[in-house]
Symmetry: C2
């Protein structure tokens, strides 16, 4: 058999393993009873081992050697490149470590869910310590093979093609200009506007379904559930979104659903022809967060789109649609207040990247061993004060324990959010040039034109191109902080629009 | 390494595959969006292939040859016997066929769910035809290795140790005496009593949680959901039950939940020490249905227990518990009406085995090829008339399409229900001798004594003994139809008690 054909068949089985992993993860986070955590951790460790065994299989190395890339079509060459990347990284990490990390992470994530409500750091800490130990070993093994820094090796696992220096450059620029912008944008004098609640969870779920449906999220190939920490998961043709609702305000739960719908739209529009091959996967998590933040911030906070939301809220409440305000202006003003706070997922667009920057700095020190897990809460408080001027003062549930990422072993993921914000803004700037009627389309709830544009330029390209080339090709220039900065200045320093 | 140790490690990985399969099945039946069916079928076929590859692995055969059983403890010898059984059956079926059957079954079950509401036989039939073709091939391959009939080979897949002749003997006896008993028990003159509804689904779910909790079902290691066709699924330490609710009457949904709780109690009490080994699995599906039917019919329809249900219904309805009737007598009379009907899962205890018998006869003819799928609806109507005196008259959703078993490839499963009814009655007869206060305990809602008895004699034994020995040891005599017949005569021919 032809070596490429052998690889092709081999990686089709990998798609089935990824399907399994996606469903087990979703199940664990959304429906699994607490008592099932230990057995699930065992099962997920086994799946991680099987996945690693398939990717690291020495035959894959031999087949990769044997393929003559020149004999392949362009897209198959891209597929081959992605296969080689997956093989190299999997083979770099010893078999036992892959299973041990998956098991520790599954267990720590369950512990996080149990300990977070009371902010019980003492009970959570040993779980995180185990995960961090395994992650350090993983990073060291990857760094050796990939010949990059340990942290850079982790980054590239989430966003292939991203280096530690590139991330440092972009996040450093954000750290330079954002504090000044936040100070100018803050409207501390104003009292927080009343959202006009309470809003029952069922009403909010109805609203979330209407709004994500308007965005184009396909419920025939997905579902919407509630989760402690909103995420998008599942498997191809079955991409599931989650959100959480708080009674006092519908906006956080709705915007989380819109964010997740952005992820889901990307997954739902990946190239069907490449569905079971590496080239058909999303291009990386920075690009992914670019799509979710595009929907959340560029579309979801657009005043015209908010007028649509206003109308849908009135409908969900059973109110006469004619009695609605007919304008999203009040909602826009309320949702674009800038105010440094404790919680990343509740942060406004201007302070959000600062939450990321502090995690970016802390996780690098955790990975290198410069910072011990035991000293993390103190470092967290100090870093919050430095970057945001507020601190949780020992309230760990709203401090260092607010996110599940580190428990889940996801070190090197956070920068993808900040880069996603840059990508979203840069996509929007390019899209506006191509779609002069965009403001009217969003105000009319016609999402088809921007959806088609994104599908063609980003979503349907899967991993056929490399990260930086994908963004350059889609937007006409290399990724930088310019579009994001112009976006914030236009929205937050010169009023709506 | 010692050969038995090698086998032990090898089968621990099988437990992880079974975990994956259990969660994927539950997900598909309870939460999966319709558009995910095709991808799920692919993924489940892959899991079936991996499972088959692990079981049929030639190394397993070599290790089995190398072990000296005399060197093992008694329980390890039983574990070895179960390993050999699993290996033999898996190796008998060609690799491609295992995957093809799993894929066809997953697809047909989704088609069944879509086609059943409208009873669309024409759309469902090609799916069933594919499954039946694959099942015939599977049965032929197994029969050759196991040197039994094709149907017998399938039966033994669900209830190891059960032969086609033994099943024919027991079901034939039931067919002989049940029609006469039904005729004497029928109270056709009476109008169907009014259940006193409507009963909102949420209220029924609340009631189902209370009652299954009273039985001892552990929600920390399980959950209760709604499904088109009630089933028990999940994974060890995470055993999930499902039921369905109809507004006009709470009883069918409640009894289905009680039935599934019986399955779940068995799974929740399997021997923890053997959790990841073949000896730790349930002894077979006839024994399993014995536990579910014990809870449904022997406990769930007990007049004393029904008084408890009556009280819980009043509580769920928010009524003053003192205002409840305080007796389950009316409920008992209503739920023990004997009346032949179209639907197996709604049948009373007396006619239920006749529903099984007709499926038993039809599925044998389908497996041997004597009956074509195209001729199945007609054969169904004729068989219903013969065994139950009623027929769906072309209403396939309430006829041949009422059950998902055949779509799911489960040929040879149905006899387990009838045998389960025999087992449940025989267990109850033996248990009454050991627990003279049983009627009072059930009336007081104290389920601990019978639960301890069953746990010790059946549940915690896993597959450490063979089927017939397990029942003989637990009840003091070989399985026969006597206890079931005495149970029906006592309950249906001489009034409550």
């Amino acid at each position: 058999m032809d070596a490429y054909q052998a690889l092709y068949g081999h990686f089709e089985e990998l798609a089935a393993l990824d399907h399994v992993r996606g469903i087990l993860d979703w199940d664990r986070r959304v429906v699994m009873p607490a008592g099932g955590a230990e057995e699930r951790a065992r099962a997920q460790a086994a799946v991680a081992r099987w996945r690693r065994a398939r990717l690291a299989d020495p035959r894959v190395g031999e087949w990769l050697e044997a393929v003559e890339p020149g004999s392949l079509a362009v897209e198959d060459r891209a597929n081959l490149r992605e296969m080689a990347r997956l093989h190299r990284r999997a083979a770099a990490v010893p078999e036992g470590l892959t299973g041990a990390l998956a098991e520790a992470a599954a267990r720590a994530e369950s512990a996080w869910a149990a300990c977070r409500p009371a902010g019980d750091w003492a009970a959570f800490r040993p779980h995180l310590e185990t995960v961090v130990e395994r992650v350090r070993e993983q990073a060291a093994a990857l760094a050796e093979t990939e010949r990059v820094t340990r942290y850079g090796a982790l980054l590239a696992g989430f966003q292939p093609g991203l280096t530690a220096d590139r991330a440092e450059g972009l996040l450093g620029e954000l750290e330079d200009f954002l504090p000044g912008l936040v100070a100018r944008a803050e409207r501390e004098g104003e009292a927080a506007p009343d959202p006009g609640g309470p809003f029952a969870a069922d009403l909010q779920e109805d609203l979330a379904r209407r709004v994500t449906g308007l965005l184009g999220y396909d419920f025939h190939h997905g579902r919407l559930d509630r989760a402690a920490h909103p995420f998008t998961g599942g498997a191809p043709a079955d991409i599931r979104i989650t959100t959480r609702f708080e009674e006092r305000d519908f906006a956080p739960g709705l915007l989380a659903a819109v964010h997740e719908a952005g992820h889901a739209l990307y997954e739902q529009h990946l190239p069907a022809r490449w569905r079971h091959q590496p080239a058909g996967r999303a291009r990386g998590m920075a690009v992914h967060e670019g799509q979710s933040l595009f929907m959340e911030n560029q579309v979801g906070l657009h005043p015209g789109f908010l007028a649509q939301v206003d109308g849908m809220l009135a409908e969900a409440r059973g109110a006469d649609p004619d009695r609605r305000q007919g304008s999203g202006a009040a909602l826009f003003r309320r949702l674009t207040r800038v105010a440094p706070g404790l919680i990343r997922v509740e942060a406004d667009e201007c302070t959000y990247p600062l939450h990321i920057r502090l995690r970016h700095l802390l996780e690098q020190r955790l990975v290198t061993g410069e910072l011990a897990v035991a000293d993390l809460p103190e470092a967290w408080e100090a870093s919050m004060r430095e970057h945001l001027g507020v601190a949780p003062e020992g309230d760990h549930g709203n401090g260092v324990m607010q996110d599940p990422h580190w428990a889940a072993g996801l070190f090197g993921y956070f920068p993808c959010y900040a880069l996603g914000a840059l990508i979203a803004a840069q996509l929007m700037e390019a899209l506006r040039l191509d779609l002069p009627a965009l403001d009217h389309q969003l105000a009319a709830g016609d999402l088809a034109p921007p959806r088609r544009w994104l599908a063609e330029r980003v979503w349907a390209r899967g991993s056929l191109e490399e990260f930086e080339a994908l963004i350059s090709d889609a937007t006409g220039k290399p990724l930088d902080t310019g579009a994001f900065r112009r976006h914030l200045e236009a929205r937050y320093l010169r009023g709506p629009g």
